[in-house]
Subunit: 251 residues, 2 copies
């Protein structure tokens, strides 16, 4: 089996912890990572407090191939991500000339002034490269194995677009879903037996209640298409044997 | 100032980390905690792997008043939360007679059988109490300062309902929002000055782009209504002075 590449995500945001804002970045980053052959292995949401960001960043960058952060890179006083990551890495914060040039062009184009607050967005931990931001002026930042992204989901989506194919990864995880109007508790033994019989698979069970009927989607994940498919077929067969009418692709 | 009560949340779920499922529990638990006078101080999303759950639970229960978990308490092989938390606490897993009775009543009522898989949902770490589940048969679990909740958001909502008012907390955090069609980068200095002038407040800045116009909502949080209001009023006044037309309550 090939080596598994992993990433972690630190979400910096009082607004998520207060329940004010619904996070949308976990899902989009997770799905994007899957396509790069990298698995999202942990997410932490921490408040806008430097020590808490430093702790999470240092723990997670050490034990993953990549670390992503979202949030806290805007122009206001509560945007402290760059400073916190510089502290975590033990490097100073410097102005990145290319970032400054990007901001100058952006504000010239939209007819705004490059105020000191906006210039904050040209600050990076020393040694950093920029990640292109096709939506607004302020770039994302790459430093060591850390990718500093925006909090606003469609800006992060644009940054991910530009990073596609640039990170070394393994094989994308393949998933096949089998759905059935079976309560998961009725077929728990079947799931165990089928997963055991197919090495390298993991079967997740996700119950639902839709249109007045109870059912479950069983998601089979594996590194190889054939392994996942063979597992899905045996699961479907066993479910049919137990009196259900399974649907490949899920319900 | 009164003592600050905090809680952390561990989300147990491969389905969140794979990007398959959008979490809805952070927001609802955060908002519910705010009403109990408890602040959500950290969230971790970890995979369905015992050692990872144990690590997160032990780190976060030690440094918060309360720890909530969601996910992994169903009847299938991938539901390992109870076992992991028992390991974290160093206690055995036992069958809770009242939980068994609840499941018996539930399955008798809906005309199902209490299979061994379903009986798994009566297992608790030794010493645990139950949390009522008004939606489906399987109860939540309280053990020491840990609250083990369902992954399915409307079931967790039902469990929270039953816990309302039972946890000791401090003063609920009050928030007041001031909105303006001001780019946050234009008013960054005002935010710093106003926050400094009002001790005990924190101002969050949340930019938006709606109906073709750029603007920001500034959320002022404080423990006391009067403190938050006074801060909001000064902020509104300063924004008016800078040529904007702020709206109390936000945009």
């Amino acid at each position: 089996m090939s080596r598994t590449w992993t990433a972690a995500l630190v979400i910096i945001g009082d607004e998520i912890l207060s329940g004010r804002t619904q996070d949308k970045n976990v899902g989009q980053i997770a799905r994007w990572l899957n396509l790069q052959g990298i698995r999202l292995s942990e997410v932490r949401v921490v408040p806008d407090i430097e020590a808490r960001i430093v702790e999470a960043v240092n723990e997670l960058r050490a034990r993953n191939d990549y670390l992503f952060t979202t949030g806290g890179i805007g122009p206001t006083h509560d945007d402290i991500t760059v400073d916190a990551i510089a502290v975590a890495l033990g490097v100073p914060v410097v102005e990145h000339p290319e970032a400054r040039a990007m901001l100058e062009r952006y504000y010239a184009r939209i007819g705004g002034e490059l105020t000191p607050a906006r210039l904050r967005m040209a600050r990076v931990p020393q040694g950093a490269d920029l990640i292109d931001n096709p939506v607004s002026g302020a770039p994302g930042i790459k430093v060591e194995n850390i990718f500093i992204m925006a909090g606003i989901p469609h800006i992060t989506a644009g940054m991910l677009e530009g990073l596609t194919g640039t990170l070394e990864g393994g094989r994308p995880l393949v998933s096949v879903t089998v759905g059935a109007h079976a309560p998961e508790s009725e077929v728990a033994d079947i799931l165990i037996a089928v997963q055991k019989a197919h090495e390298g698979t993991a079967i997740g069970s996700y119950p639902f209640f839709k249109e007045g009927r109870v059912g479950s989607n069983f998601v089979i994940r594996a590194e190889e298409e054939e392994v996942a498919s063979a597992c899905a077929e045996e699961l479907a067969e066993k479910l049919r044997g137990a009196g259900y009418a399974p649907t490949l692709g899920g319900l």
